[in-house]
Amino acid sequence: MSLYEKNLHELHDMLKKKEVSSEEITREYLNRIKQTDDKLNSFITVLDEPAIDQAKKADKIISSSDDFDPLTGIPLGIKDLISTAGVRTTCGSKILESYIPPYDASVIKKLKAKNAVIVGKLNMDEFAMGSSNETSYYGTVKNPWNLEHIPGGSSGGSAASVSARQCCVSLGSDTGGSIRQPAGCCGVVGMKPTYGRVSRFGLIAFASSLDQIGPFTKDVTDCAIMLNAICGHDPSDSTSAKRDVPDFTKALLNDVKGMKIGIPSEYFIDGIDSEVETAVNAAIEQYKKLGAEIVEVSLPHTKYAVSVYYIIATAEASSNLARYDGVKYGYRTEDAKDLSDMYFKTRTEGFGSEVKRRIMLGTYVLSSGYYDAYYLRAQKVRTLIMNDFRNAFEKCDVILTPTAPTAAFKLGEKTSDPLQMYLSDIFTISANLAGTCGVSIPCGFTSNGLPIGLQLMGKHFDESSIIKAAYAFEQSSDYHKTIPTIPNL
């Protein structure tokens, strides 16, 4: 087995036993990126030399100690909207093509303090607006399981890179499913923690009341390790939660006896692919065998989630993206006849069409005369969606659903129909509106060999329960051990 096929916890054990060095591991991943990224396009920026330097630094710590952090010397990738000091951070947009953050995001500071090795910045939908990674200014990412299919989005590069073993783990962000949906499409584990669990300081904002950073990993154990590394209160983010962070690896128990798993009937609807339904139903049967108690729950406002989301998220985005005016950073138009013309031309030339569409929708729903009809009403329905979850969680410990209605669709299939694209997030959006945590884990394959994702959602700040449930399922299956074969390599 090659080094790049190993999980974080396996590599950590090898580093501990001094069987391998971080430099060797890092070189192997960088080589893997070289071999595969022409086909996949997961990376916007690869950090060859800085990664080797970081690895050498980690090796010094490793050689002088037996007790170092699990992330020390581990190569990882970062979605290109998380600020990295001195390293270009594009947000998948032309408007930030040459932007070099003067500071590190708080999560990056945490990873650097543990001497993790950052191998590169990962491709994504422009400003995280997309479900297929097709809105990136830097080209579409391909699904490692089938290069003609989408990797999911918006964290497409983060999902594809872990799936194709181009890095050991990665970070993404999730505003309406942007971690869980691509994790499902690419057959890896992707966790959106509870809103406020992970600091958003240095995360380039899309929709501030919904955005949350989270990890992509090859298995659930690595997911728990990553959560331990990135969660916690941060005074630099006023919405970050002052809550104790448990040791999430304590939830890796392989025991779900008596655990109550809620199944919401609203998630098993017309339009759900039959192979997805079959795989998810098989997972439910598996949980029964493992001793979990399956209970029916109801999330009656589920069908309104997409509407609420596309009002609230675009309203927040239209305000957040007002800062891109060509003055302080980023792209500025070449020829402007005055200041106003400079604003217009900079934004018109700098943003892609999906971003423009959402800025306009957000501006419209906030504009005079429409605010009450759209924005205020959406905020009220958001309350009803939150109440749904509160009621459901009185009857169960975790909620189980498909991650998406279908496996990864074909590239180009939905690019001309924004509404159809938005509807592919129908099962993931509610968790963001309610602020709850959610994880996608692999639960099978379609007859075409594309991964199918299983979503587990938990109460606020109860990531431990979904890790516990995810781990028990994973231990009784082999899906996470299957690695995609990239053609003509």
Partner: protein, 95 residues
């Protein structure tokens, strides 16, 4: 038709975006479709429902009014598309 091409052009202007006629046409059609879908929210009675702006309740977060982390002028200007004498430079504002 819930949104017209004129309204799309007006919104684009508010958002500081130029749209040519063909683009305005396409955006109008797409936004109209999206707004038509969103109209489903009118089915729900929300009269006695409070609005939610934050899913996790937070109180005002305050800190002492002291200078802590600042960036020096050069670093702050390092990404400026155009700068002069330690300032951001923009096209002439006053005629």
């Amino acid at each position: 038709m819930s949104i017209t091409k004129q309204e799309v052009q007006y919104v684009a202007k508010l958002a500081r975006l130029y749209l040519d006629d063909d683009q305005a046409e396409v955006f109008t059609e797409q936004l109209d479709q999206i707004l038509g879908y969103i109209d489903q929210l009118n089915e729900i009675d929300v009269q006695n429902v409070a609005a939610t702006s934050q899913s996790i309740a937070t109180e005002n977060v305050l800190r002492d009014d002291v200078v802590d982390n600042t960036y020096d002028r050069e670093l702050s200007l390092s990404n400026a598309p155009l700068k002069e004498d330690g300032f951001f430079k923009v096209p002439k504002v006053i005629e």
